[in-house]
């Protein structure tokens, strides 16, 4: 049964990775990142249920909190980029490219 949970999480992680790799919009990339982090949480909770103890729950709680801060900072950066460059298309943001 544990394997079914892990496979579901792996599939969700892969879909999120696909979104991160292919999305052009910076907000779309952040949404893919959300999916990947969410898949990790499924793994942690599944491990906690199948004998790893309460540590899996604690780590899930921490991951959720860190994800919220990541989204807040990431979206603040997106808003600043939009204000300066008038675009959030990741392909057009190559100011730091050498």
């Amino acid at each position: 049964m544990l394997q079914a949970y892990l496979l579901l999480a792996a599939a969700m992680f892969a879909i999120g990775l696909f979104g991160v790799l292919t999305r052009r919009n910076a907000v779309g990339i952040l949404l893919g990142l959300e999916l990947m982090l969410n898949a990790v949480n499924i793994n942690l909770v599944a491990f906690a249920r199948f004998g790893a103890g309460v540590g899996g729950w604690v780590l899930t709680l921490f991951t959720i909190a860190i994800t919220v801060t990541e989204v807040a900072v990431g979206l603040a950066i997106v808003i600043v980029i939009f204000r300066v460059r008038r675009t959030v298309d990741a392909d057009h943001l190559h100011l730091l490219r050498g």
Partner: protein, 162 residues
């Protein structure tokens, strides 16, 4: 056990469908709505895994907080009408190959190992609270500092120039 398998199967269909909606929807707004569905599905999965408290946290923070923030960001950076809300994918084939390779690698490892089949001792929310404030208290305090620093930083970045 069969009820758990049924619930897992149904939730898996909903969550994977919603995940595909997140990465494939043309309209950015629809992507966020699909994400909300995927996150609520995950909360259902947590209930299935007897993690009731985490399911509540998931709904409150993820499906409530994160989705709200993202919707705000979209409204600040896109015009709600017109072409700007449309988004496209690039390098779909390469992305699919890379994501598929990662999935095959991880799934292969999962299927080759022998994970425990019995569930461990039942965990309670009280045990979670005790663990957070004893064994994990240092990480918990650092997390508090991180939250304050990140939210102040976000506020500083997004402030209007005046």
């Amino acid at each position: 056990m069969t009820a758990e398998a049924l619930g897992l199967g149904g939730l898996a269909v909903v969550m994977l469908g919603a995940s595909l909606g997140v990465v494939l929807a043309r309209n950015l707004f629809h992507s966020v709505l699909w994400l909300a569905l995927a996150l609520v599905g995950t909360a259902g999965l947590f209930v299935l895994l007897h993690a009731d408290f985490l399911a509540a946290v998931q709904v409150l923070l993820y499906a409530g907080g994160v989705v709200t923030i993202v919707v705000f960001a979209i409204m600040l950076t896109e015009r709600l009408v017109g072409q700007s809300l449309r988004q496209t994918n690039r390098g779909v084939l390469a992305g699919a190959i890379a994501a598929g390779a990662v999935f095959v690698g991880v799934a292969g490892t999962i299927l080759r190992t022998r994970p425990p089949s019995e569930t461990g001792p039942a965990l309670t929310t009280a045990a979670l609270g005790t663990a957070v404030l004893t064994e994990w208290v240092l990480a918990f305090e650092v997390l508090g500092i991180l939250l304050v620093a990140a939210l102040l930083g976000a506020l500083y970045l997004a402030r209007t120039e005046e």
